[in-house]
Symmetry: C2
Subunit: 478 residues, 2 copies
């Protein structure tokens, strides 16, 4: 057999092997320069906020061990910021810092681009440009991947670059690597968990201290836990971004945010948490990615849910995140850790940098033939998003009523008409002469629930629209 | 710069790059044959018992997705068994099965050797021989790594092979990959958890059903949960093997089994579990790997311990394993999953095979220079195993006494002399006129505990030797 190198592109070697009559082209990632310069890997940071400074600080902190493990030297060559004048906790040499993104993105010396600026405008432009040039990009930007991942991964594939995103989901928890590498033997029936630390912190304090949503939110704001755009944390959008990414990773299908159920925590009250506790549940904001392989349906959703206290995920409190992954080979594996914060997130960014270094030192570019692609696509062929309305399960209702005679009978009647039957009922009298009725149901479906809520809200005895939460049982999901 | 390939060894290319005055040698794993034959990776299995059959079955099950993800075809070319006549659940083509290990170990066509036979005699011989030839070996054999890992990893390093061992610790939980890759940015202050499913199953049933150790053990035997050599499960040896492996992985230091505390679950009684529960604890068989970076001491131990019910690890029940890893960057991450069984273990073996495939397709052999080695070794320089006797913490005692006047006073006096003070005391009268006194202590040290136990057992009022368990608090470990 013969082997000849036929080209050295931006990030890789192109070579041909021949054997008998066969001829095959290969790519190997290889930054040629690095081979002779003591394997120095040059990194450019786009953005130097909390995470960027964390990456710098933590590479410095454990540099010796890290460089030994990688067999390479790491050099953060360029840092790009918006505002050069801003004071920062981490002080870096003036020659390394600029406000000119081209010094990273268009710089042939930069091997790895870390996009840690966030947002979707400039971050998209720069990520696109870096990937177009075959560079490796590491990101923590879940919103960007969620909305533009399909395009960006495709550019990376075509240009021989790579787009790493461990830090985008669940901070320091290695959920991307676990699904992609450690559980490579598996197909994933169910992935669910807590993917937003801020909302989990609020729910935990409401539960433990009996505080209202508003009071706890105030504290969370003071602690700097809530994003500037509060909808990200409170309306579930941040966690939904992450659910979309996990759905793509596990099932190869991009779903749009507007196609899925995405409900936040604003409607949860102390009494919901209290009644749930009495019934053996906690209320958590859950991301659920469930695949029914027989029907070839995928359900991706993000909503508060009552979950049995016996489930490990129910015990994930405060700012922690937790993900439960059920594979058809491994069974159920649960990962719990910090979901955000400078250090946890930078730990994941550095882990992606490490994988990128591994690639730059010779790991193969996945050259996927059309034939391979076609074979694989058959697995996802016809995979459809499950109809939201057909979602089945048990529900919890909170109905605010005027405390009139026969009101419970009326409610029962309406629910029975909608084919929803009660599992438990709790009633709580309020001082103003109204009452709250809390009901859990037997198994029903989303469409019935919507219909019954509308019917109930049309009753004169019912004040406002009833609130409902799903009861999540991982054992009955598909 | 110039690049020239100077050799094609068994599993890799050797090439030289020159740049200016510099010259550097590199290795790239590469099975040359595979490059022209549609990237078929040939695997040999040594052993075809529970795990071996699981690997076969689960590769077949998800072959299309797996081969797509790997960009390679997997061919289990040779299976070696001891007894050709035995009936097996998985039937494989007769041409692939033999009782001749040379067909795997000495076969230049085999890229990856999976040692799934267990034991330390032949398995050691064959692993050594495969690694001597620069092959990649994947193993689930914790006993072998624990006792011969130092030699085997060194052979792999020298010969350019690799020794993968994800399946050796905590079955389907990707703890090796997580520590080695995902948390590469970290140094590890504390790793602890439950690493033996059988003993955890026994403790869980004792707790939930109030059964005795003996009764539960009987059931566990019937279910086939207990290893033929029962000491592995009941005396903590299996979990201690795994603790030794994790200590090496996280700290680069091999400790010997006979240097560490290794205590099993045989002494735990229902009343210990009951009293612990009243005090807010569960009793779990814990592996602890704690490093004190300031004093440069490493504590590796395996013993039953009372652990607060609030800790996530305390909630890991039945046959599940759980590991808590505290890194100096990421904080605490917990992984929970099946610790044993055909499918979970084979999921990890297949994940190692996937990493091996990645390597065979061009990932770099870590060519570590003496200089690099020396720099890194400084981090572990002088790292010593902590003195067992100096281990500090709180303890639980169970003391069986004749129910005589003043016996509690006597016990208090002896403990006070040994500088151990009570935190709680429970006394339980038995029908035979004796009593059991259960005590938890404030912080003391191992040496004092040993001394006090001896002093107590010399008292005429004390029956037998008191039993003690440590109380483990992850927040005060170092």
């Amino acid at each position: 057999m013969a082997l000849s190198i036929i080209g050295a592109h931006i990030g890789y070697l192109r070579y041909v092997s021949t054997h008998g009559g066969g001829r095959r082209e290969h790519l190997i990632y290889k930054n040629l320069r690095n081979m002779s310069e003591k394997r120095t890997i040059r990194i450019g940071l786009l953005g130097f906020g909390v995470v960027g400074q964390g990456v710098w600080k933590n590479i410095e902190k454990n540099r010796i061990a890290l460089e030994y493990r990688l067999g390479a030297q790491l050099d953060i060559t360029e840092v790009v910021v918006k505002n050069l004048g801003r004071e920062r906790e981490v002080v870096i040499p003036p020659k390394s810092i600029s406000d000119d993104a081209r010094r990273v993105v268009d710089n042939p010396d930069i091997d790895i681009v870390c996009e840690l600026m966030g947002g979707k405008g400039e971050a998209l432009e720069l990520t696109r440009r870096a990937l177009e040039q075959g560079k490796i990009v590491v990101t923590a930007n879940k919103a960007l991947i969620c909305e533009h991942g399909e395009e960006l991964f495709e550019i990376a594939r075509q240009k021989g670059g790579h787009y790493f995103y461990e830090a985008s989901v669940a901070g320091g928890i290695p959920i991307i690597k676990t699904i992609r590498e450690a559980l490579v033997a598996n197909r994933f029936k169910l992935i669910f968990g807590i993917l937003n630390g801020t909302s989990n912190y609020i729910l935990t304090r409401m539960e433990r201290e009996g505080l209202s949503f508003e009071a706890t939110l105030g504290d969370a704001r003071k602690l700097g836990y809530v994003e500037a755009d509060e909808a990200l944390d409170l309306d579930g959008i941040d966690a939904a971004h992450k659910a979309v990414i996990l759905a793509y990773l596990a099932h190869g299908k991009w779903v749009r945010l507007d196609e899925i159920i995405c409900e936040g925590i604003r409607e949860i009250t102390g009494e919901d948490i209290e009644i749930a506790a009495q019934l053996g549940y906690k209320i958590k904001l859950l991301a659920v990615i469930a695949r029914d392989f027989e029907a070839n349906k995928l359900s991706v959703r993000l909503h508060p849910a009552l979950i049995s206290k016996k489930e490990v995920i129910a015990g994930v409190d405060e700012v922690y995140n937790g993900v439960s992954v059920t594979g058809d080979v491994v069974g159920t594996t649960v990962l719990i850790g910090r979901g955000a914060g400078q250090d946890a997130t930078s730990s994941s960014v550095i882990s992606d940098i490490a994988d990128a270094v591994f690639m730059l030192q010779g790991a193969p570019a996945p050259v996927i033939s059309e034939e391979d692609e076609a074979t694989y696509q058959k697995l996802a062929d016809g995979l459809e998003l499950a109809d939201k309305a057909s979602l089945k399960g048990r529900y919890y209702f909170r109905i605010h009523v005027r405390d009139e005679e026969g009101v419970l009978a009326k409610i029962s009647e309406i629910m029975a008409k909608g084919h929803i039957s009660f599992a438990t009922v709790n009633q709580k009298e309020l001082e103003d002469g109204t009452a709250k009725i809390m009901v859990t149901t037997h198994i029903t479906d989303e469409a019935s629930v919507m219909q019954v809520k509308t019917a109930l809200s049309e009753q004169s005895a019912v004040i406002g629209r009833p609130v409902s939460f799903r009861i999540f049982d991982p054992n009955t999901q598909a």
